[in-house]
């Protein structure tokens, strides 16, 4: 008896649609053993995740608060992925975006809220974009691998922000904590229902819609898809692929940068250490789960938001380390990648001797 793999010739839409869901279920199952090992009843823990994140107005608002930066970062990442450009640097771009927005908030002196918020938005957009644009330029001009550049620039961005908040930007009245002074009221996004939910969430939804239209309906989106599908053919059709690579990485970083803007203007109201607890890395998983579709990103970001909020409460009630949440994310990605294999192949048990 022998186990053989065999190419599936027909893969239905149905199958593609359910593969991510099944991957998540399998990841839940395997993560259950991790919970058991930590002495926690997995069913109870999962129930608590759902209750904490969706069971109350406060829970839902917190989930949406976490969903917001995830949507921005994942949109940026998935845009680049569409062109087969692997932007691993959303984390750094979030930090740069936050940094740009903070610079405007602290030093511009604008008093008109609309002017202030707009200026902060564009500062974040530009900072994130230029940060990723460096990788874009290197890739387009000298074929430097963008994975390495974007990844390593994360560390530069995070440590650069640390330098500012431990040094020149540190709040003199902050009891020596590594954070900047609080923003003025003009530099804060509107909050709703007495919760932390801010207008950045709706901006994220709008952004997703915009990006969907951009990819599926515009001439530029068409160009990006051609380049992603076959760069040689794109060059042959007269497209300037180098320029497109730069622009897409710029835009990808810029959108991730808006996540940083949302965090400082909507939530923290200051720049501080650890402004993003790895949203930029989670975004890679989300972009992949969503199969790089802008609307899929919104749904998957929401699911990840549930996990983050639920994970926080697990830390409180069961003293589980935050590493559990990361392990769970890793498991999802792992099973998702594995499911790609099963979408294209099937396993078959062969009995006895084969003719051959």
């Amino acid at each position: 008896m022998k186990l053989v793999t065999e190419k599936r010739e027909l893969t239905t839409k149905w199958f593609r649609f359910f593969a991510p869901i099944v991957s998540i279920l399998v990841a839940l199952f395997v993560a259950g053993f991790l919970l058991l090992a930590a002495g926690v009843n997995p069913l109870q823990a999962y129930l608590e995740i759902v209750q904490e994140s969706l069971g109350s107005l406060y829970g839902i608002s917190e989930t949406l608060v976490k969903t917001t930066p995830l949507i921005f970062a994942s949109l940026g990442v998935s845009l680049a992925f569409r062109m087969q450009i692997w932007n691993i640097g959303a984390e750094g771009q979030i930090y740069m975006g936050a940094c740009g927005a903070t610079a405007v908030a602290l030093f511009s002196g604008f008093e008109n809220p609309a002017l202030m918020i707009t200026a902060m938005f564009f500062a974040a957009f530009l900072s994130g974009g230029l940060w990723a644009g460096v990788a874009g330029l290197l890739r387009a001009r000298w074929q430097v691998n963008e994975v390495i550049v974007t990844l390593l620039m994360n560390y530069i961005a995070i440590l650069g922000v640390d330098y500012l908040i431990y040094g020149p930007w540190k709040d003199p009245k902050g009891f020596n904590f590594p954070l900047t002074a609080q923003f003025s009221d003009a530099a804060r996004l509107t909050e709703y229902f007495d919760t932390r939910l801010h207008s950045g969430f709706f901006l994220a939804l709008f952004c997703a819609l915009l990006l969907y239209l951009f990819m599926e309906r515009t001439v530029w989106g068409y160009e990006i898809k051609v380049i992603g599908s076959n760069p040689k053919a794109a060059r042959y059709a007269g497209m300037n692929t180098g320029m497109a690579i730069f622009c897409v990485l710029f835009l990808s970083g810029a959108i991730a940068g808006i996540a940083g803007f949302g965090e400082v203007a909507g939530l923290q109201h200051r720049l501080q250490h650890g402004i993003s607890p790895g949203y930029g890395y989670t975004a890679i998983i989300i972009a992949w789960l969503a199969r790089r579709s802008a609307l899929g990103v919104v749904i998957v970001s929401f699911l990840m938001g549930i996990l983050l909020v639920g994970g926080d409460s697990l830390q409180l009630t069961w003293q589980l380390p935050v590493a559990f949440v990361y392990a769970f994310q890793g498991l999802i990605l792992f099973f998702l990648l594995a499911s790609d294999f099963f979408i294209n192949n099937r396993l078959k048990l062969v009995r006895g001797e084969r003719h051959a």
């Binding site: 068409y222 898809k225 599908s229």
Partner: protein
């Protein structure tokens, strides 16, 4: 006599397409059996079934009288069915010997080089082939690489050899050499399944011919029962092959003039070396030569994909050598690329999207920054109808189309803007007679409307039939130029091999 291979009522479908409907075929030991059919007739699918890439849904394959089922190419290879693919499967950085070694049934962990070298050398000697075994494969000509593919199968002692259009990349002389070897192999009892579109070869070499049409095996004829006309009409299903009338009126006006043009490749070697030629308005200039003698570089420099290192390209009185000056001009050059799948299409995108790849930004396909999906669909419907493209359901990614239909999509797209110059590389390579005939007609129609065509081809029949003038390239240089009215195939063949220069 028992058949070596017998195929009975094979059926294979893909989503929305019946690729093989009902195929039956038998191959006796020691025969050369030719498979003939238009594109989309199912030849490639059948090959993929025989080599274990696809599994048929119905039907039976008997090898040596025993029913077999292949789950992978390896299983069919283990039985002794070997194939020389159109695209070679060689490791180009490795030497000839290392590549052959890879073909062995079990590559030994610690192989005794000497023993295998002797074995390989023996086969080379047997067929009077002369290869330096330690040359890396990338240094060899395409023709030589094909020999290595064949030797790999001989080393494995395959009993059924499948050759997919093996002469596409050979000079007439090299083809003749290949046929000698194939006939010897047959006489030694090997079975050969031969796929070709060139009638001349089919007539010359086949013991039996099976004609495929729309996924069915139409008929099998033995030598003597067929002639060129009969096969062609069976294939395309018409009784009469359209007679060809050359009626081009070439104007004296120069369309392009290339003066002492040189182009270097990535390794710094000259792909084009001091190349000079002229083409007039409405002229069809044929370029003959064995693939890899600078044709591709010529096409790429003309279409702006490569830069010239010296020399000049003139369009009328304008110097367009420099690509920035060429920009606007290049827009008027249509290009049918050599490698249609790797540079001609975006495989994951739909046929509709692929049809506008060259002019996607034209105002007729957009409303402001948005694409006009309606106009794009209408354009596609029109082209699909006009060029008889079998595109499958709307929204189908183009990679599901057969090679011939992909080529039609490219040609439809390239000719849609009434280009001044068409650079066509091997435009009918791998196309069936019907489609090839259609491509010829399109090129000739274009010429009569004043389009100048640079037709790069390895098919001498095609060049002789279409061209007003034929120039021959050898190692990036002009080896000579002949008048198609008076030239003989031998004359051109000698120029192609670089043995003579006019």
């Amino acid at each position: 006599m028992t058949n070596l291979l017998q195929i009975k009522n094979i059926r294979k479908t893909f989503p929305g397409v019946v690729a093989l409907d009902d195929i039956s075929l038998s191959i006796a030991p020691g025969e050369i059996h030719t498979l003939l059919g238009e594109n989309g007739a199912g030849k490639s699918t059948l090959m993929n079934v025989l080599t274990g890439l696809y599994r048929p849904e119905r039907g039976e394959i008997l090898f040596d009288g025993t029913p077999v089922q292949f789950r992978s190419p390896r299983e069919s290879l283990e039985l002794g069915i070997g194939m020389v693919h159109q695209h070679f499967m060689l490791v180009s950085a490795h030497t000839v010997f290392e590549n052959i070694l890879l073909a062995l049934n079990k590559v030994p962990n610690f192989y005794s080089r000497r023993k295998y070298r002797q074995q390989v050398q023996q086969i080379l000697d047997q067929f009077n082939l002369d290869f330096e075994l330690d040359t890396p494969v990338w240094k060899l000509s395409i023709g030589a690489q094909q020999w290595i593919e064949l030797i790999k199968l001989l080393v494995r002692d395959c009993r059924l050899l499948i050759l997919d259009e093996p002469t596409a990349v050979l000079t007439p002389q090299e083809s003749a050499r290949l046929f000698e070897v194939l006939i010897r192999l047959r006489d030694e009892g090997k079975s050969i399944l031969f796929i070709s579109h060139k009638m001349r070869e089919v007539m010359e070499i086949s013991d039996r011919v099976t004609v495929l049409k729309k996924g069915r095996s139409l008929i099998t004829l033995s030598r003597g029962e067929y002639n060129e006309n009969k096969l062609a009409s069976l294939m395309i299903g018409e009784d009469q092959i359209p007679e060809w009338q050359k009626s081009f009126r070439t104007s004296q006006e120069l369309a392009l003039e290339i003066k002492n043009l040189s182009v270097r490749n990535d390794r710094g070697l000259a792909d084009l070396d001091n190349f000079t030629m002229k083409i007039h308005r409405g002229q069809i200039l044929g370029i003959a030569g064995v693939a890899g003698n600078g044709q591709k570089a010529l096409a790429e420099v003309l279409t702006g994909l490569k830069e010239a290192s010296s020399g000049r390209i003139m369009a009328g009185l304008r110097d367009i050598t420099n690509s920035s000056a060429r920009g606007s001009y290049i827009a008027g050059i249509a290009h049918i690329p050599e490698d249609r799948k790797s540079i001609g299409i975006a495989p994951d995108m739909t046929v509709d999207d692929n049809l506008i790849m060259k002019n996607f930004s034209s105002p007729s396909f957009r409303r402001g920054i948005f694409q006009d999906r309606g106009a794009i669909r209408r354009n596609a419907a029109e082209k699909i109808d006009q060029f008889a493209i079998k595109a499958g359901p709307t929204g189908n990614p183009i990679r599901y189309l057969s090679g011939g239909n992909i080529q039609k999509v490219i040609i439809a797209r390239e000719l849609s803007e009434n280009p001044a110059v068409l650079v066509a590389l091997y435009p009918t390579r791998g196309l069936d007679i019907g489609s090839a005939e259609y491509v010829h007609k399109v090129i000739a129609d274009g010429a009569s409307k004043g389009m100048s065509t640079i037709l790069i081809s390895e098919d001498l029949d095609e060049l002789l039939k279409l061209s007003d003038e034929i120039v021959v390239m050898f190692r990036g240089r002009l080896a000579g130029s002949v008048d198609p009215e008076t030239a003989t195939r031998e004359e051109i063949g000698l120029l192609m091999s670089g043995e003579v220069q006019t």
